[in-house]
Symmetry: C2
Subunit: 201 residues, 2 copies
DNA sequence: GCTTCGTTCGAACGCTCGTCCGAACGGTCT
DNA sequence: AGACCGTTCGGACGAGCGTTCGAACGAAGC
């Protein structure tokens, strides 16, 4: 598939750093042949990103349907995200890196997908910690995304822990942390109040 | 300062996407004037990255000296990282994005700095959870880095929570998570064993 | 056999890229 | 005054960029 090969090239050299001729060499399709399939280099990038989000959103809706428990929903979500990431590292690197390179019309369509995705995550989180009024949901959401998305910089499938364990571990960090005892202000150890730092004031 | 203005340009357009003429326009220095200060575009990028790491490493060593408590060391580390990030969003975006664009000789020097930095973090973490043999330190370390580094995609100084609170919140997530009760396998709630998922087998 | 259609390509277009050259500037020394 | 020096610049260089055009292909329909 041309999209996949192109994604590899863009992931390695960056979108601007890779030339159409690089893509041509990698895919075996002539330069003008590429322009038969895509009407511009921008559209090629858009198609990669759009197809990627389409797939991940599709799978997410499928796997989430019928799952009601908030924590379980989050687990499904993280598992899905990490599995897709690990299976499509090149595409996801392109997705993370070249988010704002596209001209407005293309970009807004990808942004819409991205918004739907992160709102799904936000909703799952909100369902999980509804009791904490004034929770800084934004920080929590993006911290989770940060953990997950950053793996394209270090994770090597086959050498690092498998995706299932990665999911477990990140879920654990996010829900329970390293689980050190929390020091109370009187110097003794204590269990944290769930909402201790989650209030906004 | 030329380095700072250049970083802004590179952050906005990407290193390959930005031309020397863009940098010239942003800095007010003529194109050939720039080549009086830097012998190539690559060197300009290198100087930005190198100077950035130099500063952050310098401050880190300063702030860490005399701090012995492992948890406190981690707090200093996270605080430093986030503060520097928030104060130099453009440079840090360039640092994150264009890490592997440089030719080998430049890149290896930046990689050395990066290694020193992440080993400092790794050591702090190891000191914090020494009791857990077979801890997957790698996952923990990069999850923390992910949370922190990802902020360049969403954090807006002045609009989001201040850096101090951000530090607090990320520390809390990383050490204690959202603090939901952990379900034991018999269906009752229970307190997690600190090392529960941190063993490797 | 001839035409049409979807597909593929080599070669060229105009343009922008990173880099370099030679001249010009304002000081400071003799 | 003249010579030198660090600094700055306009303008040019070849290379490579994204994109386009017209020709060539094999298969399908008449």
């Amino acid at each position: 598939m041309i999209l996949r090969e192109s994604a590899l090239v863009f992931a390695e050299k960056g979108f601007d750093g890779a030339s159409i001729r690089d893509v041509s060499a990698a895919t075996g399709v002539s330069v003008s042949g590429l322009y038969y399939y895509f009407k511009s280099k921008d559209e090629l990038l858009f198609l990669i990103q759009h197809h990627c989000f389409e797939t991940i959103l599709h799978r997410l809706r499928e796997d989430l349907s019928g799952v009601d428990d908030p924590e379980e929903r989050l687990r499904v979500l993280v598992g899905n995200h990490l599995r897709f990431f690990a299976d499509n590292m090149a595409e996801m690197k392109v997705l993370s890196h070249e988010a704002d390179v596209l001209p407005d019309d293309y970009r807004s369509r990808v942004t819409d997908q991205k918004r739907e995705y992160s709102e799904t995550v936000g909703a799952a989180l909100e369902a999980l910690v509804p009791e904490a009024e004034g929770v800084d949901l934004r920080v929590a959401t993006f911290s989770l995304f940060g953990m997950m998305n950053w793996i394209y910089t270090w994770y090597r499938p086959g050498k690092d822990v498998p995706v299932d364990r990665l999911t477990e571990q990140m879920m654990h960090i996010f829900l329970h942390g390293l689980q050190l005892p929390i020091r109370a202000s009187d110097g003794q150890t204590a269990v944290a109040e769930p909402t201790s730092i989650w209030r906004n004031s």
